[in-house]
């Protein structure tokens, strides 16, 4: 008994807006446009929403701001911030609230103009007093420390990290909405300027604008709102630490825990998943999460991604949008893993469509590998 309402809620609207550069737009305007598109996708209007889930880059009271902006009177307002994973926690809480009958239509929204906004990059979190004096680049150095440890312990190579970046780029080349679509070679990733060893600039996600939104209802209503609802089969999250120094083992993330609970909720195994999205802020993330979510054994992630295995035409389609590395990264990528999962399950993914995608896994990360959240979505055939 895990209590999760497997398949009893579904995503009936999904949209993105302003991906790439959206000069002149405020973050809230981007989030509002994505939300209107997602609601229209389900034939709904803002006033139909009675549960709002949102995390905005700078607005810590966005639950209030956005309700006012769109004309929503939410019964449930969830402004949970766990970093980029927040939107998968929102999904978990939305499914529970919908199933309990506390609300009928849930909107999850996000928008950022970090690439074109004037001034320095927006920082939503800072190093603690016990880390700041050593001037780590936040967040890159924390991921670099994890990568260095993984390389030391398991012999993972910079070339294997580069395989992740090249696979993401090859998917992005099939996605007309993706920001980085020029050719990328393993050599150019390996030899790119170092930022925080062993991670170079091509191991790091993009800096873009962009917004995303999804709309959920209970399953009984979902089929009347969209011909191909994406049913929520599982959503589970874990927190293991805040500062990177407090992470118990830098080669093992909380995805072990969130993934195991999500698989149990959905009643599926890693081998059953047709298409995978993992939050790839840095190349090491994809390797860690593929291991921790059971697609390969611990320490074997580097070898697993070799030879284009996660690229188009490979055995396991991973980050089919192009991911944070090549699709977009407006600061918190989590919601985009859900939108791409929905597009794949609907068969709407164009040239990058994974044939027969019925079961999709989305995984997101927050902080410095601190928060992990896993969701499993399925087509009607998986109910």
């Amino acid at each position: 008994m895990n209590g999760f309402p497997r398949g009893r809620t579904a995503i009936v609207g999904a949209a993105t807006f302003g991906v790439g550069k959206a000069p002149g737009f405020e973050a809230i305007e981007l989030a509002a446009m994505a939300s209107l598109h997602a609601l229209a996708d389900a034939g709904l209007r803002p006033a139909d929403v009675d549960a709002l889930f949102i995390a905005q880059p700078q607005d810590t009271l966005a639950g209030l701001t956005f309700s006012d902006y769109l004309g929503i009177r939410p019964k449930i307002t969830d402004n949970n911030r766990s970093g980029g994973s927040a939107f998968l926690l929102h999904l978990e809480h939305a499914a529970l609230a919908l199933d309990a009958g506390l609300c009928d239509v849930a909107l999850i929204a996000y928008g950022s103009n970090q690439a074109t906004a004037s001034g320095a990059l927006l920082q939503t979190s800072r190093s603690s007093a016990y880390e700041a004096p050593y001037q780590p680049l936040r967040p890159i150095s924390a991921y670099a420390l994890a990568a260095a440890r993984h390389m030391h312990q398991y012999g993972t190579s910079k070339r294997q990290l580069a395989e992740v970046a090249v696979a993401a780029r090859r998917w992005a080349q099939l996605n007309p909405e993706a920001v980085a679509r020029d050719d990328l070679s393993l050599d150019s990733v390996v030899n790119a300027r170092l930022v925080s060893d062993p991670l170079g600039v091509r191991d790091c996600c993009l800096v873009t604008d962009g917004a995303a939104a999804i709309v959920l209802t209970r399953a009984d209503r979902a089929r009347h709102l969209h011909p191909r609802p994406a049913y929520v089969l599982a959503a589970a999250a874990a927190v293991t630490h805040s500062d990177i120094a407090s992470m118990p083992d830098l080669t093992v993330t909380g995805a072990v825990e969130s993934g195991a609970r999500a698989y149990a909720q959905a009643g599926v195994r890693a081998a059953d998943i047709d298409v995978v999205q993992v939050y790839d802020a840095f190349t090491i993330n994809t390797i860690l999460f593929l291991e921790d979510l059971g697609f390969c054994a611990k320490g074997e992630g580097g070898a697993f991604v070799e030879g284009g295995r996660i690229a188009p035409g490979g055995a396991l389609p991973v980050n089919t949008s192009g991911g944070g590395l090549s699709y977009c990264h407006p600061g918190m990528f989590g919601l985009f893993t859900l939108v791409e999962s929905v597009r794949q399950l609907r068969g709407d993914a164009g040239a990058r469509q994974v044939a027969g995608a019925e079961l999709a896994l989305a995984h997101a990360n927050g902080g410095v590998l601190s928060s992990q959240a896993t969701a499993i979505l399925g087509s009607a055939a998986t109910l």
Binding site: S128, A129, Y130, E131, P133, Y134, Q135, P136, L137, S141, A144, L145, A146, A148, R149, H152, R193, L194, V195, S196, D197, P198, L199, D243, I244, A245, S246, L250
Partner: protein, 119 residues
């Protein structure tokens, strides 16, 4: 008075690297008002000072800033903290390397760093 953060800093300013420990002998870092997980009381004890590099990264700062290493150090007491290894080139700091604590003053503030252990 229980102000672990301020107490840690005043120890450091006096040239002492101190850690917190439970009655059962578990050490804790960073300083807290109670043991995580149990809420049990903590007492200050002098740190041994020895440890080893758990992981390390070289931050490639843009000139004129100089590049620096950022390291995670596992202390012999079983706790891990972020610091920096001085006394050698940043590129030469290796995982597993034995190091020992040293208190330096940087920007008028006492700072805990590590240097290679003399074998």
């Amino acid at each position: 008075m229980l102000q672990p953060d301020a107490e840690y800093r005043s120890f450091l300013a006096a040239g002492r690297f101190m850690l917190q420990r439970t009655a059962e002998g578990r050490h804790v870092f960073y300083p807290r008002v109670a043991e995580p997980g149990t809420g049990a009381a903590l007492q200050w004890v002098p740190a041994d000072g020895r440890g080893s590099v758990y992981s390390v990264t070289v931050v490639r700062a843009k000139p004129p800033a100089v590049q620096r290493n950022v390291a995670l150090i596992d202390l012999v007491e079983g706790v891990r903290l972020m610091s920096r290894v001085d006394g050698m080139a940043s590129e030469d700091v290796r995982i597993g390397m034995p190091v020992v604590a040293k208190i330096v003053v940087e920007n008028d503030v006492p700072l805990l760093v590590f240097v290679p252990q003399v074998q």
